[in-house]
Protein backbone atom coordinates (compact mmCIF):
# COMPACT_ATOMS: atom_id res chain seq x y z
CA UNK A 1 0.00 0.00 0.00
CA UNK A 2 1.72 3.13 -1.18
CA UNK A 3 -0.92 5.66 -0.12
CA UNK A 4 -1.53 6.94 3.35
CA UNK A 5 -5.20 6.42 4.16
CA UNK A 6 -4.97 8.78 7.13
CA UNK A 7 -4.54 11.61 4.62
CA UNK A 8 -7.71 10.78 2.70
CA UNK A 9 -11.37 11.46 3.25
CA UNK A 10 -14.22 9.32 1.99
CA UNK A 11 -17.81 10.31 2.55
CA UNK A 12 -20.75 7.98 2.21
CA UNK A 13 -23.81 10.22 1.99
CA UNK A 14 -26.01 7.19 1.29
CA UNK A 15 -28.51 8.79 -1.09
CA UNK A 16 -28.22 10.01 -4.64
CA UNK A 17 -29.58 13.39 -3.72
CA UNK A 18 -27.00 13.91 -1.01
CA UNK A 19 -24.20 12.83 -3.35
CA UNK A 20 -25.32 15.22 -6.05
CA UNK A 21 -25.58 18.06 -3.57
CA UNK A 22 -22.06 17.50 -2.38
CA UNK A 23 -20.74 17.38 -5.94
CA UNK A 24 -22.66 20.52 -6.77
CA UNK A 25 -21.62 22.51 -3.72
CA UNK A 26 -17.94 21.93 -4.16
CA UNK A 27 -17.51 21.08 -7.83
CA UNK A 28 -14.32 19.20 -8.64
CA UNK A 29 -13.32 18.79 -5.04
CA UNK A 30 -14.85 15.36 -4.54
CA UNK A 31 -14.00 12.36 -6.63
CA UNK A 32 -16.82 9.86 -6.99
CA UNK A 33 -16.00 6.27 -6.17
CA UNK A 34 -18.41 3.54 -7.21
CA UNK A 35 -17.04 -0.01 -7.28
CA UNK A 36 -13.56 1.34 -6.70
CA UNK A 37 -11.93 -1.12 -9.09
CA UNK A 38 -10.16 1.72 -10.88
CA UNK A 39 -9.74 4.19 -8.05
CA UNK A 40 -8.49 1.73 -5.46
CA UNK A 41 -5.87 0.28 -7.80
CA UNK A 42 -4.32 3.70 -8.33
CA UNK A 43 -4.74 4.50 -4.67
CA UNK A 44 -2.94 1.32 -3.59
CA UNK A 45 -0.09 2.09 -5.97
CA UNK A 46 0.25 5.63 -4.57
CA UNK A 47 -0.64 7.10 -7.95
CA UNK A 48 -3.66 9.21 -6.99
CA UNK A 49 -3.32 12.91 -6.34
CA UNK A 50 -6.95 13.21 -5.16
CA UNK A 51 -7.53 13.07 -1.42
CA UNK A 52 -11.29 13.55 -1.12
CA UNK A 53 -13.71 10.91 -2.24
CA UNK A 54 -17.43 10.39 -2.14
CA UNK A 55 -19.01 6.99 -2.39
CA UNK A 56 -21.72 6.91 -5.02
CA UNK A 57 -22.70 3.33 -4.22
CA UNK A 58 -26.33 4.25 -3.66
CA UNK A 59 -29.45 2.17 -4.39
CA UNK A 60 -30.88 4.72 -6.82
CA UNK A 61 -28.06 4.05 -9.29
CA UNK A 62 -28.30 0.28 -9.09
CA UNK A 63 -31.53 -0.49 -10.86
CA UNK A 64 -32.14 -2.08 -14.21
CA UNK A 65 -35.60 -1.36 -15.53
CA UNK A 66 -37.44 -2.31 -18.71
CA UNK A 67 -40.13 -0.17 -20.11
CA UNK A 68 -41.58 0.00 -23.58
CA UNK A 69 -38.81 0.19 -26.07
CA UNK A 70 -35.89 0.65 -23.68
CA UNK A 71 -33.85 -1.02 -21.01
CA UNK A 72 -32.39 1.44 -18.51
CA UNK A 73 -29.27 0.42 -16.67
CA UNK A 74 -28.37 2.49 -13.61
CA UNK A 75 -24.85 3.91 -13.73
CA UNK A 76 -24.04 2.09 -10.52
CA UNK A 77 -25.01 -1.37 -11.77
CA UNK A 78 -22.28 -3.95 -11.47
CA UNK A 79 -21.23 -6.08 -14.37
CA UNK A 80 -22.54 -9.12 -12.51
CA UNK A 81 -25.97 -7.50 -12.38
CA UNK A 82 -25.74 -6.75 -16.07
CA UNK A 83 -24.66 -10.18 -17.21
CA UNK A 84 -27.28 -11.91 -15.08
CA UNK A 85 -30.17 -9.70 -16.16
CA UNK A 86 -32.63 -11.67 -18.26
CA UNK A 87 -33.72 -8.69 -20.35
CA UNK A 88 -30.14 -7.77 -21.20
CA UNK A 89 -29.31 -11.36 -22.02
CA UNK A 90 -32.28 -11.43 -24.38
CA UNK A 91 -32.10 -8.03 -26.08
CA UNK A 92 -28.47 -7.07 -25.65
CA UNK A 93 -26.55 -10.33 -25.49
CA UNK A 94 -23.30 -8.67 -26.56
CA UNK A 95 -23.41 -6.40 -23.53
CA UNK A 96 -23.92 -9.42 -21.27
CA UNK A 97 -21.03 -11.06 -23.07
CA UNK A 98 -18.74 -8.05 -22.60
CA UNK A 99 -19.71 -7.91 -18.94
CA UNK A 100 -18.60 -11.53 -18.56
CA UNK A 101 -15.24 -10.66 -20.09
CA UNK A 102 -14.47 -7.87 -17.68
CA UNK A 103 -11.76 -8.83 -15.19
CA UNK A 104 -12.55 -11.79 -12.95
CA UNK A 105 -15.70 -12.64 -11.04
CA UNK A 106 -14.81 -10.41 -8.09
CA UNK A 107 -14.20 -7.42 -10.38
CA UNK A 108 -17.55 -7.98 -12.05
CA UNK A 109 -19.20 -8.03 -8.64
CA UNK A 110 -17.78 -4.60 -7.80
CA UNK A 111 -17.01 -2.82 -11.07
CA UNK A 112 -19.82 -0.67 -12.45
CA UNK A 113 -20.81 0.36 -15.93
CA UNK A 114 -20.73 4.03 -14.92
CA UNK A 115 -17.17 3.59 -13.67
CA UNK A 116 -16.18 1.79 -16.84
CA UNK A 117 -17.44 4.64 -19.01
CA UNK A 118 -16.39 7.56 -16.81
CA UNK A 119 -12.91 6.14 -16.42
CA UNK A 120 -12.78 6.44 -20.19
CA UNK A 121 -10.04 3.96 -20.88
CA UNK A 122 -9.76 3.28 -24.61
CA UNK A 123 -9.41 -0.40 -23.69
CA UNK A 124 -12.64 -0.62 -21.66
CA UNK A 125 -14.82 -3.56 -22.53
CA UNK A 126 -18.36 -2.23 -22.41
CA UNK A 127 -18.12 0.73 -24.87
CA UNK A 128 -18.02 -1.26 -28.12
CA UNK A 129 -21.30 -2.98 -27.28
CA UNK A 130 -22.86 0.34 -26.30
CA UNK A 131 -21.88 1.84 -29.66
CA UNK A 132 -23.24 -1.18 -31.48
CA UNK A 133 -26.53 -0.96 -29.64
CA UNK A 134 -26.96 2.79 -30.09
CA UNK A 135 -26.92 3.50 -26.36
CA UNK A 136 -27.73 6.84 -24.83
CA UNK A 137 -26.63 8.25 -21.49
CA UNK A 138 -28.55 10.20 -18.95
CA UNK A 139 -26.20 12.47 -17.05
CA UNK A 140 -27.47 13.72 -13.73
CA UNK A 141 -26.56 16.50 -11.36
CA UNK A 142 -28.22 18.64 -8.73
CA UNK A 143 -28.99 20.94 -11.65
CA UNK A 144 -31.05 18.31 -13.38
CA UNK A 145 -30.76 15.64 -16.08
CA UNK A 146 -29.62 15.66 -19.67
CA UNK A 147 -29.62 12.93 -22.24
CA UNK A 148 -26.91 12.45 -24.85
CA UNK A 149 -26.10 9.79 -27.41
CA UNK A 150 -23.19 7.70 -26.14
CA UNK A 151 -21.23 8.75 -29.26
CA UNK A 152 -21.01 12.23 -27.81
CA UNK A 153 -19.64 11.17 -24.45
CA UNK A 154 -15.93 10.69 -25.17
CA UNK A 155 -14.19 13.93 -26.08
CA UNK A 156 -10.53 12.92 -26.05
CA UNK A 157 -8.07 10.81 -24.15
CA UNK A 158 -9.65 10.39 -20.71
CA UNK A 159 -11.86 13.42 -21.44
CA UNK A 160 -15.61 13.08 -21.27
CA UNK A 161 -18.74 15.18 -21.54
CA UNK A 162 -19.28 14.94 -17.77
CA UNK A 163 -19.38 18.26 -15.96
CA UNK A 164 -17.62 18.41 -12.61
CA UNK A 165 -20.84 17.96 -10.70
CA UNK A 166 -22.33 15.31 -12.98
CA UNK A 167 -22.68 11.56 -12.76
CA UNK A 168 -23.65 8.93 -15.27
CA UNK A 169 -27.14 8.25 -14.01
CA UNK A 170 -28.44 5.80 -16.54
CA UNK A 171 -27.35 3.96 -19.62
CA UNK A 172 -30.32 3.62 -21.98
CA UNK A 173 -30.54 0.86 -24.53
CA UNK A 174 -33.14 0.86 -27.30
CA UNK A 175 -34.68 -2.56 -27.83
CA UNK A 176 -34.50 -2.51 -31.60
CA UNK A 177 -31.61 -4.82 -32.31
CA UNK A 178 -33.25 -8.18 -31.64
CA UNK A 179 -33.27 -9.09 -35.31
CA UNK A 180 -29.93 -7.57 -36.20
CA UNK A 181 -26.90 -9.56 -37.09
CA UNK A 182 -24.23 -9.22 -34.46
CA UNK A 183 -20.56 -9.77 -33.93
CA UNK A 184 -18.53 -9.36 -30.75
CA UNK A 185 -15.00 -10.26 -29.85
CA UNK A 186 -12.39 -9.45 -27.25
CA UNK A 187 -8.72 -10.05 -27.86
CA UNK A 188 -6.98 -9.88 -24.50
CA UNK A 189 -3.64 -10.86 -23.09
CA UNK A 190 -5.24 -14.12 -21.90
CA UNK A 191 -8.72 -15.62 -21.47
CA UNK A 192 -9.63 -14.02 -18.14
CA UNK A 193 -8.44 -11.07 -16.06
CA UNK A 194 -7.16 -9.52 -19.24
CA UNK A 195 -7.14 -5.97 -20.42
CA UNK A 196 -8.17 -5.85 -24.07
CA UNK A 197 -5.62 -5.47 -26.83
CA UNK A 198 -8.63 -4.98 -29.10
CA UNK A 199 -12.33 -5.34 -28.44
CA UNK A 200 -15.10 -4.98 -30.92
CA UNK A 201 -18.86 -5.24 -31.21
CA UNK A 202 -21.17 -4.66 -34.14
CA UNK A 203 -24.79 -4.92 -35.20
CA UNK A 204 -26.06 -4.92 -38.75
CA UNK A 205 -29.19 -5.28 -40.82
CA UNK A 206 -28.68 -6.89 -44.18
CA UNK A 207 -31.57 -6.93 -46.66
CA UNK A 208 -31.40 -8.73 -49.99
CA UNK A 209 -27.72 -9.16 -49.51
CA UNK A 210 -27.10 -5.44 -48.94
CA UNK A 211 -26.06 -3.67 -45.76
CA UNK A 212 -28.91 -1.50 -44.66
CA UNK A 213 -27.69 -0.48 -41.25
CA UNK A 214 -24.45 -1.12 -39.43
CA UNK A 215 -22.97 0.09 -36.17
CA UNK A 216 -19.47 -0.87 -35.09
CA UNK A 217 -17.68 -0.06 -31.84
CA UNK A 218 -14.02 -0.76 -31.21
CA UNK A 219 -11.66 -0.37 -28.29
CA UNK A 220 -7.87 0.11 -28.02
CA UNK A 221 -7.42 1.58 -31.47
CA UNK A 222 -7.65 5.27 -30.62
CA UNK A 223 -7.35 7.59 -27.62
CA UNK A 224 -11.00 6.89 -26.81
CA UNK A 225 -13.36 3.99 -27.39
CA UNK A 226 -14.45 4.48 -30.96
CA UNK A 227 -17.51 4.16 -33.10
CA UNK A 228 -16.17 3.35 -36.55
CA UNK A 229 -18.11 5.98 -38.45
CA UNK A 230 -15.99 5.96 -41.59
CA UNK A 231 -16.00 2.19 -41.80
CA UNK A 232 -19.75 2.14 -41.32
CA UNK A 233 -20.14 4.66 -44.13
CA UNK A 234 -17.96 2.59 -46.39
CA UNK A 235 -20.10 -0.43 -45.72
CA UNK A 236 -23.54 1.11 -46.02
CA UNK A 237 -25.37 -0.29 -49.00
CA UNK A 238 -22.63 -2.70 -50.01
CA UNK A 239 -23.41 -6.21 -51.16
CA UNK A 240 -22.18 -9.10 -49.00
CA UNK A 241 -23.59 -12.14 -50.73
CA UNK A 242 -21.39 -12.22 -53.81
CA UNK A 243 -18.01 -13.73 -52.97
CA UNK A 244 -16.02 -11.63 -55.42
CA UNK A 245 -17.70 -8.43 -54.41
CA UNK A 246 -17.26 -9.33 -50.74
CA UNK A 247 -13.48 -9.37 -51.15
CA UNK A 248 -13.59 -5.84 -52.53
CA UNK A 249 -15.92 -4.74 -49.72
CA UNK A 250 -13.52 -6.16 -47.15
CA UNK A 251 -10.65 -4.38 -48.78
CA UNK A 252 -12.54 -1.08 -48.74
CA UNK A 253 -13.62 -1.61 -45.15
CA UNK A 254 -10.05 -2.28 -44.02
CA UNK A 255 -8.99 0.94 -45.74
CA UNK A 256 -11.70 2.92 -44.02
CA UNK A 257 -10.78 1.34 -40.71
CA UNK A 258 -7.14 2.28 -41.13
CA UNK A 259 -8.18 5.84 -41.92
CA UNK A 260 -10.00 6.33 -38.64
CA UNK A 261 -7.88 4.36 -36.17
CA UNK A 262 -4.43 5.02 -34.78
CA UNK A 263 -3.38 2.22 -32.45
CA UNK A 264 -0.25 2.64 -30.37
CA UNK A 265 2.52 0.54 -28.87
CA UNK A 266 2.05 0.06 -25.16
CA UNK A 267 2.87 -2.41 -22.42
CA UNK A 268 0.18 -4.85 -23.60
CA UNK A 269 0.68 -4.94 -27.33
CA UNK A 270 2.02 -3.20 -30.40
CA UNK A 271 0.52 -0.79 -32.90
CA UNK A 272 1.36 -3.18 -35.72
CA UNK A 273 -0.46 -6.05 -34.05
CA UNK A 274 -3.50 -3.99 -33.22
CA UNK A 275 -3.72 -2.62 -36.75
CA UNK A 276 -3.53 -6.07 -38.23
CA UNK A 277 -5.94 -7.72 -35.83
CA UNK A 278 -8.46 -4.90 -35.98
CA UNK A 279 -8.59 -5.46 -39.74
CA UNK A 280 -8.82 -9.21 -39.29
CA UNK A 281 -11.72 -8.86 -36.88
CA UNK A 282 -13.48 -6.56 -39.30
CA UNK A 283 -13.01 -9.13 -42.02
CA UNK A 284 -14.20 -11.91 -39.76
CA UNK A 285 -17.26 -9.84 -38.92
CA UNK A 286 -18.08 -9.23 -42.59
CA UNK A 287 -17.62 -12.87 -43.48
CA UNK A 288 -19.86 -13.85 -40.57
CA UNK A 289 -22.53 -11.39 -41.65
CA UNK A 290 -22.21 -12.51 -45.25
CA UNK A 291 -22.62 -16.13 -44.17
CA UNK A 292 -25.74 -15.26 -42.20
CA UNK A 293 -27.18 -13.19 -45.02
CA UNK A 294 -26.81 -15.90 -47.64
Amino acid sequence: MRSCSAECELLTPGSLEAVLCLLHDEPGLWTPIAGGTEIMVLYGAGKLTERKFVSIAVPELREITEDGGWISVGGGCSFTQIRRHVGIQKHFPMLAQCASWLGGIANQNRGTIGGNLANASPAADSPPALFAYGAELELISARGKRRIPYEEFHLGYKKTALALDELIGTVLLPKRFDDSLRYVRKVGTRNAQAISKICMAATATVKHGHVEEIRIGMGSVAPTPLRLAATERALMGTELTDAAILNVVIWEARRALASETAPIDDIRSTAAYRTLVAGNLLEEMLRTFAGAAR
Binding site: M1, S3, S5, A6, E7, C8, E9, L10, L11, T12, I33, G35, G36, T37, M40, V41, Y43, G44, A45, F53, S55, A57, T80, S100, G103, G104, I105, A106, N107, N109, R110, N191, A192, Q193
Partner: protein, 161 residues
Protein backbone atom coordinates in the same frame (compact mmCIF):
# COMPACT_ATOMS: atom_id res chain seq x y z
CA UNK B 1 -8.17 13.12 8.25
CA UNK B 2 -9.72 11.62 11.26
CA UNK B 3 -10.36 8.06 12.15
CA UNK B 4 -13.97 6.98 12.13
CA UNK B 5 -15.88 4.12 13.60
CA UNK B 6 -17.51 1.58 11.36
CA UNK B 7 -19.62 -1.33 12.35
CA UNK B 8 -19.73 -4.46 10.28
CA UNK B 9 -20.58 -8.09 10.78
CA UNK B 10 -17.53 -10.28 10.35
CA UNK B 11 -18.01 -14.04 10.28
CA UNK B 12 -21.31 -13.61 12.07
CA UNK B 13 -20.00 -11.34 14.82
CA UNK B 14 -20.77 -7.61 15.06
CA UNK B 15 -17.52 -5.68 15.11
CA UNK B 16 -16.76 -2.04 15.49
CA UNK B 17 -13.52 -0.85 14.00
CA UNK B 18 -11.84 2.47 14.09
CA UNK B 19 -10.03 3.39 10.87
CA UNK B 20 -9.62 6.12 8.28
CA UNK B 21 -12.52 5.72 5.81
CA UNK B 22 -10.20 5.02 2.88
CA UNK B 23 -8.40 2.23 4.75
CA UNK B 24 -8.60 -0.93 2.70
CA UNK B 25 -10.91 -3.61 4.05
CA UNK B 26 -7.94 -5.96 3.64
CA UNK B 27 -5.81 -3.98 6.08
CA UNK B 28 -8.64 -3.61 8.56
CA UNK B 29 -9.26 -7.34 8.57
CA UNK B 30 -5.60 -8.22 8.90
CA UNK B 31 -4.31 -5.47 11.15
CA UNK B 32 -7.28 -4.34 13.22
CA UNK B 33 -9.16 -7.61 13.52
CA UNK B 34 -6.18 -9.97 13.35
CA UNK B 35 -7.82 -12.03 10.61
CA UNK B 36 -4.62 -12.83 8.77
CA UNK B 37 -6.13 -15.64 6.73
CA UNK B 38 -6.94 -13.03 4.09
CA UNK B 39 -3.73 -12.43 2.13
CA UNK B 40 -2.30 -9.67 0.01
CA UNK B 41 -0.72 -10.85 -3.23
CA UNK B 42 -0.87 -7.80 -5.44
CA UNK B 43 -2.98 -5.01 -3.98
CA UNK B 44 -4.50 -4.33 -7.38
CA UNK B 45 -7.42 -6.71 -7.78
CA UNK B 46 -5.51 -9.14 -9.93
CA UNK B 47 -4.64 -12.16 -7.79
CA UNK B 48 -7.67 -12.79 -5.58
CA UNK B 49 -5.67 -13.85 -2.55
CA UNK B 50 -7.51 -11.14 -0.60
CA UNK B 51 -10.95 -12.50 -1.59
CA UNK B 52 -13.73 -12.27 0.97
CA UNK B 53 -17.50 -12.33 0.68
CA UNK B 54 -19.46 -9.14 1.26
CA UNK B 55 -23.14 -9.95 1.69
CA UNK B 56 -22.42 -13.22 -0.05
CA UNK B 57 -20.68 -11.67 -3.06
CA UNK B 58 -17.04 -12.38 -3.84
CA UNK B 59 -14.86 -9.26 -3.74
CA UNK B 60 -11.19 -8.36 -3.56
CA UNK B 61 -10.78 -6.78 -0.15
CA UNK B 62 -7.73 -4.83 -1.34
CA UNK B 63 -10.05 -2.72 -3.49
CA UNK B 64 -12.75 -2.02 -0.92
CA UNK B 65 -12.46 1.08 1.25
CA UNK B 66 -13.69 0.30 4.73
CA UNK B 67 -16.33 3.05 4.57
CA UNK B 68 -18.03 1.15 1.75
CA UNK B 69 -18.03 -2.05 3.79
CA UNK B 70 -19.71 -0.46 6.78
CA UNK B 71 -22.97 -2.13 7.65
CA UNK B 72 -22.29 -5.20 5.54
CA UNK B 73 -21.82 -8.82 6.46
CA UNK B 74 -18.39 -10.19 5.68
CA UNK B 75 -17.12 -13.74 5.46
CA UNK B 76 -13.40 -14.41 5.58
CA UNK B 77 -11.64 -17.77 5.49
CA UNK B 78 -11.79 -17.87 9.28
CA UNK B 79 -15.59 -17.92 8.98
CA UNK B 80 -15.81 -20.67 6.39
CA UNK B 81 -15.05 -23.64 8.58
CA UNK B 82 -13.40 -24.63 11.79
CA UNK B 83 -10.81 -27.17 12.83
CA UNK B 84 -13.53 -29.44 14.12
CA UNK B 85 -15.91 -28.83 11.27
CA UNK B 86 -14.36 -28.21 7.91
CA UNK B 87 -16.49 -26.84 5.11
CA UNK B 88 -16.85 -29.45 2.34
CA UNK B 89 -14.74 -27.24 0.09
CA UNK B 90 -11.93 -27.19 2.67
CA UNK B 91 -12.20 -30.95 3.13
CA UNK B 92 -12.01 -31.45 -0.62
CA UNK B 93 -8.98 -29.15 -0.96
CA UNK B 94 -7.23 -31.24 1.65
CA UNK B 95 -8.13 -34.50 0.01
CA UNK B 96 -7.50 -33.56 -3.61
CA UNK B 97 -4.29 -31.61 -3.10
CA UNK B 98 -5.88 -28.24 -3.86
CA UNK B 99 -3.43 -26.39 -1.62
CA UNK B 100 0.32 -26.44 -2.19
CA UNK B 101 2.08 -23.40 -0.76
CA UNK B 102 -1.32 -22.35 0.55
CA UNK B 103 -1.03 -18.61 0.00
CA UNK B 104 -3.78 -18.50 -2.63
CA UNK B 105 -5.85 -21.06 -0.75
CA UNK B 106 -8.01 -18.88 1.50
CA UNK B 107 -9.06 -16.71 -1.44
CA UNK B 108 -9.46 -19.70 -3.69
CA UNK B 109 -11.68 -21.44 -1.15
CA UNK B 110 -13.85 -18.35 -0.85
CA UNK B 111 -14.17 -18.16 -4.61
CA UNK B 112 -15.14 -21.83 -4.66
CA UNK B 113 -17.67 -21.39 -1.87
CA UNK B 114 -19.13 -18.41 -3.75
CA UNK B 115 -19.31 -20.40 -6.97
CA UNK B 116 -21.08 -23.35 -5.35
CA UNK B 117 -23.56 -21.02 -3.71
CA UNK B 118 -24.50 -19.54 -7.07
CA UNK B 119 -24.12 -22.69 -9.07
CA UNK B 120 -24.30 -25.90 -7.02
CA UNK B 121 -23.52 -28.27 -9.89
CA UNK B 122 -20.94 -26.48 -11.96
CA UNK B 123 -19.51 -27.83 -15.19
CA UNK B 124 -15.75 -27.76 -15.68
CA UNK B 125 -16.11 -24.53 -17.68
CA UNK B 126 -18.15 -22.92 -14.93
CA UNK B 127 -15.52 -23.90 -12.37
CA UNK B 128 -12.77 -22.44 -14.54
CA UNK B 129 -14.72 -19.23 -14.83
CA UNK B 130 -15.74 -19.09 -11.19
CA UNK B 131 -12.09 -19.14 -10.12
CA UNK B 132 -10.77 -16.89 -12.89
CA UNK B 133 -9.89 -14.01 -10.59
CA UNK B 134 -7.84 -16.16 -8.23
CA UNK B 135 -4.32 -16.79 -9.41
CA UNK B 136 -2.45 -19.84 -8.22
CA UNK B 137 1.19 -20.24 -9.18
CA UNK B 138 1.75 -23.67 -7.64
CA UNK B 139 -0.94 -26.10 -8.66
CA UNK B 140 -1.73 -25.43 -12.29
CA UNK B 141 -5.35 -25.47 -11.01
CA UNK B 142 -6.09 -29.11 -11.88
CA UNK B 143 -6.24 -30.32 -8.25
CA UNK B 144 -8.30 -27.27 -7.38
CA UNK B 145 -10.85 -28.08 -10.07
CA UNK B 146 -10.99 -31.63 -8.79
CA UNK B 147 -11.56 -30.34 -5.26
CA UNK B 148 -14.42 -28.10 -6.35
CA UNK B 149 -16.04 -30.98 -8.22
CA UNK B 150 -15.69 -33.18 -5.19
CA UNK B 151 -17.10 -30.54 -2.86
CA UNK B 152 -20.09 -30.07 -5.15
CA UNK B 153 -20.84 -33.78 -4.93
CA UNK B 154 -20.45 -33.80 -1.16
CA UNK B 155 -22.71 -30.81 -0.71
CA UNK B 156 -25.30 -32.27 -3.04
CA UNK B 157 -25.29 -35.56 -1.18
CA UNK B 158 -25.93 -33.56 1.95
CA UNK B 159 -23.00 -35.10 3.74
CA UNK B 160 -22.02 -32.74 6.52
CA UNK B 161 -18.49 -31.46 6.05
Amino acid sequence: MSMREFSLRVNGVERIVSAPPMARLLDVLRQELGLTGTKEGCGEGECGSCSVLINGELVNSCLVPIAQAAGTSITTIEGVGAHTKLHPVQQAFLQCGGAQCGICTPGMILAAVHLLEKCPNPTREQIEEGLNGNLCRCTGYMRIFAAVEKAATTIEAGVPG
